[in-house]
Symmetry: none
């Protein structure tokens, strides 16, 4: 199950070190081993290693980084776990479909499953780095899954999907013709798109955030290939060139 | 989901009271509420109530009995959770099939899902009271699921099965918030996109077909909403306006 090695579980801003240890244990029981910690509040901590039980190797290998962007820069698909449907209108998957999508993509690409803080989850900014969200269908009257419990449920679904994929040896063996764009490539596109909207005076005084949010959603949802990113950036470059020419003409 | 009220989760001989609390929380998050404790080692205990968080009602209502036989005396189907295939030759189910069987039977009958001790699981005598066993397909090299984590995984599968049974009639009734663009709207977008590529001189003498084919594929795959089509067309209109200004400047 080599695909398992391309799946990383990212914990963002975890408050309780015990949850980090319990998450490491949950991963290892399900045959996963790649944990990345983004700005944990208290770490390293004895409590984390105590709760990891025999999964202290997973913990010992887990990089600690400062931002989610760093944790996922080379990922081609990023899934954010949300406690409920969010303001950010990301595509929302159930755990089962999310797991089969992650496992299918992990046949060739680096993918990440991201969990937010115990109290407050992922920020809207962090969610905007995700291609889609996954929501565990908890009891609406009491949806407070413990962080490690949420990791356990999704790691379990990943294992079921990995085992299913394994049993069908050829299902994932089909080579993908085109590589999905990485996080960094998509951010490059979005940066240029933002500049272009300014250059062609798209906003006309309105705040640019809303349009950019909608455009990010559209293009992340489509999971662009590297070639498509190059195509889009070529179009934007020409639009920018025209805007510069027009500006040279009518600077008033 | 009345069937949920006929499903009881039985914890036998639990050693750590924290696990009892965490199990109560796991049940409640998945919409289950019936917990039965068979001869817990330390109970009641503050640690159990602390870990139960907002699920202390589940804990407060949980009967404590002396034997598994007592806990399941009125049950018509009893499923024992085992860490691995056991000496007792019980029928062994995976979590998914176990959950759908439990939920189907719970439509009419009392059913129980039984979890053993942290270290040693269920005794052979206790397993002989079960109709079948359920095994979570853990990593064979590290299968030590925490008790509460095992309860969480099975409670999750029960919830998925309960929702599937319950939600079938309404599954397609959920209104989509945003209407997908019609074929004609998408063709309108593509026509304007084609004009814009000409206006900004994107093709530079190359045949336009290949780029347009790739762009159609990208935007059709994303299934744009009507609002997104309007947004894209607004951007294209501004790029076209700039191209006209630039053209007026440098017509040579």
């Amino acid at each position: 199950m080599e695909a398992a090695t391309r799946i990383r579980i990212v914990l963002v801003g975890t408050q309780h070190p015990g949850n980090i240890g319990a998450a490491a244990r949950a991963l290892k029981t399900m045959g996963l081993s790649r944990l990345v910690l983004v700005a944990p509040e208290q770490y390293p901590a004895d409590e984390a290693f105590r709760r990891a039980a025999g999964a202290d190797d997973v913990l010992a290998q887990a990089p600690v980084v400062a931002t989610l962007a760093e944790a996922i820069s080379d990922c081609r698909f990023v899934l954010g776990c949300t406690a409920r449907s969010r303001r950010v209108a990301l595509e929302e998957l159930g755990p089962r479909e999310a797991a089969s999508k992650v496992v299918a993509l992990a046949a060739a690409d680096e993918v990440a499953l991201v969990f937010g803080r115990e109290r407050t989850g992922l920020s809207n900014e962090e969610l905007q780095l995700c291609h889609a969200s996954v929501h565990i269908p908890a009891n609406p009257e009491y949806s407070s899954l413990n962080l490690a419990a949420a990791v356990q449920v999704l790691a379990y679904e990943l294992r079921v999907a990995l085992l299913a994929g394994h049993a069908l040896p050829d299902a994932t063996a089909t080579p993908r013709q085109e590589l999905a764009a990485s996080h960094a490539q998509m951010e490059g596109l979005f940066a240029q798109l933002g500049e272009t909207l300014d250059d062609i005076d798209f906003h006309k005084g309105r705040a640019p955030d809303s349009a950019m949010r909608k455009l990010r959603r559209l293009f992340l949802r489509a999971t662009l290939t590297e070639q498509e990113v190059r195509l889009m950036r070529g179009i934007l470059a020409d639009a920018q060139r025209m805007a510069r020419l027009a500006g040279a003409k009518a600077p008033e």
